[in-house]
Assembly symmetry: C2
Homo-oligomer: 302 residues x 2
């Protein structure tokens, strides 16, 4: 594998492009041609701690994507995924191998319909913030979990192997569903609470009242996901919350910066599951309304 | 009735003192002797719209209260009430007639034990903000509802009659419980939601997602209070929310100014009731945790 395409040049797309460019020939597909131009001229600036370095990456607007790369990583938000999939169809081309990095689990139903040789899914445990259209800040060391959703595992093994050498670890997971459930739990508890309370992740643990709200929300999620080992999953979630204690969650950042959040992919998915199973989801529903309301208020259309 | 004592010189105490001084000889009892001194020297400044006027009122620190006035209005927060009642006991004097203006309903159990000729309770539908220790801003025209809790109604009739002439209406209610339930509903829905979302009251109606959360919270409260006419009560609450649309709720102001909120008197009361009746109160409990957590964070002790 030589060529990798990355669709989406937000924080995750810029982060992946700047690291993977050390091992692969990367093409970054951007939503706007302006952003592609900036990246072609100035490269991607990768900031980490007090250092920063410039990485040369070829960038093209998404309209130029033809699916010719051996692997295409889809690093757009869940709510932008449908338009990307439509784009695949319009070009009437079958992408070879795809890796999807969306939060939540509502995109799994979309993946079923995609005609590709191999589909991988990943969950990103790397802190990254987009500073501007060609600058990304990498906060802290994490990993990218990846698992096979459909097809053959070779491409995943090759990717993980190459990434060992570039200080950007991939952790291969056997069970994509379990992997995504783990991420979903953290996203569904930490994101809504921090976004509504406007606090850093760590405060959910240190403030005993917030922690009481964390536990109630977790129990509802645990019931809906039919978790077999809820205590272990709870501890895992707490570990993530502590490890990222000084960070603002992505949902809090989205709200603060007037962007749409991933509430539909995260809490919307859980509400659908609760409905299907006829289970109670009072807290999830409440946070769903509060967050959709916040989004609406930020749009200035309320 | 000539003499009225008012205990508590926050927004409500200052507002009542500045209006009632037109018809009665008012003594305002303050928590600190410094505040009493300022009021004695500079009077109370009552701001309304673009005008302001100075009202001379006698002020004394609370330690000087002897219960000699014919009516004493208790205008402290619910969480300060116990110390006032202890003070009554320490002086070993039976206050003649008392009017309690606290929000919530958790103070009703305290009132049962007070030895006074007449006890009135009131709910304030006047917008007031304390600007500084001797200045209060009166926002909008409202009323004070008052009802007999124990004793004889004469003092209430006399008060309402006198207040007709001073542009500070008292509305007499037959049933103190219904009166307080009405206020509790508005307080329990509007205060927590606006305080957590940091929005003005009116946004709860205009933002359709916030409105969905309003309805869910109201339904829980309605069930706990065993409301006989929930639709009418819901409409009443909406009317208050619209009428005060441009206001910040007291709980939002309390949080913004780092003060303790009335969450115990309002949501705490409802949680106790829910427990007694073994009813579900998932949303109420959640808002209780979020608000207690916000209070704790503001104290800087989390």
């Amino acid at each position: 594998m030589n060529n990798i395409g990355i669709i989406g040049a937000g924080s995750i797309g810029l982060l992946f492009a700047s690291y993977l460019a050390k091992a692969f020939s990367v093409t970054l597909y951007t939503r706007t041609s302006e952003q592609a131009e900036v990246i072609n001229q100035k490269g991607i600036i990768l900031q980490k701690g007090r250092t920063q370095r410039r990485v040369s990456v070829k960038a093209l607007p998404i309209s130029k994507w033809k699916g010719t790369e051996e692997l295409t990583i889809i690093a757009v938000k869940q709510y932008q995924l449908q338009s990307i999939i439509d784009h695949f169809r319009n070009f009437n081309c079958s992408p070879k191998n795809l890796l999807f990095l969306q939060n939540g689990m509502s995109h799994l139903t979309l993946l079923e319909k995609i005609d590709a040789a191999t589909i991988l899914v990943g969950t990103v445990e790397q802190g990254a913030s987009r500073v501007n259209s060609n600058t990304v800040r990498h906060n802290g060391e994490g990993t990218v979990n990846a698992a096979l959703y459909k097809g053959k595992p070779e491409i995943l093994l090759e990717l993980a192997e190459a990434c060992v050498h570039i200080d950007f670890p991939f952790t291969i997971k056997d069970n994509y569903y379990q992997m995504m459930v783990n991420k979903l739990i953290a996203n569904a508890v930490i994101n809504p609470l921090t976004a509504i309370l406007q606090v850093k992740n760590g405060e959910l643990i240190t403030n005993t009242f917030y922690f009481a709200a964390v536990k109630k929300l977790f129990l509802e999620i645990s019931s809906i996901l039919n978790l077999e080992d809820p205590i272990r999953k709870f501890r895992d979630m707490i570990r993530i919350c502590k490890k990222t204690g000084e960070n603002q969650s992505s949902m809090l950042k989205d709200l603060e910066e007037g962007r749409r959040t991933e509430v539909d992919a995260i809490l919307g998915f859980l509400l659908d599951e609760a409905n299907k199973q006829q289970k109670s989801a009072i807290n999830i529903e409440n946070y769903f309304y509060l967050l959709k309301g916040k989004e609406k208020a930020k749009e200035g259309v309320n």
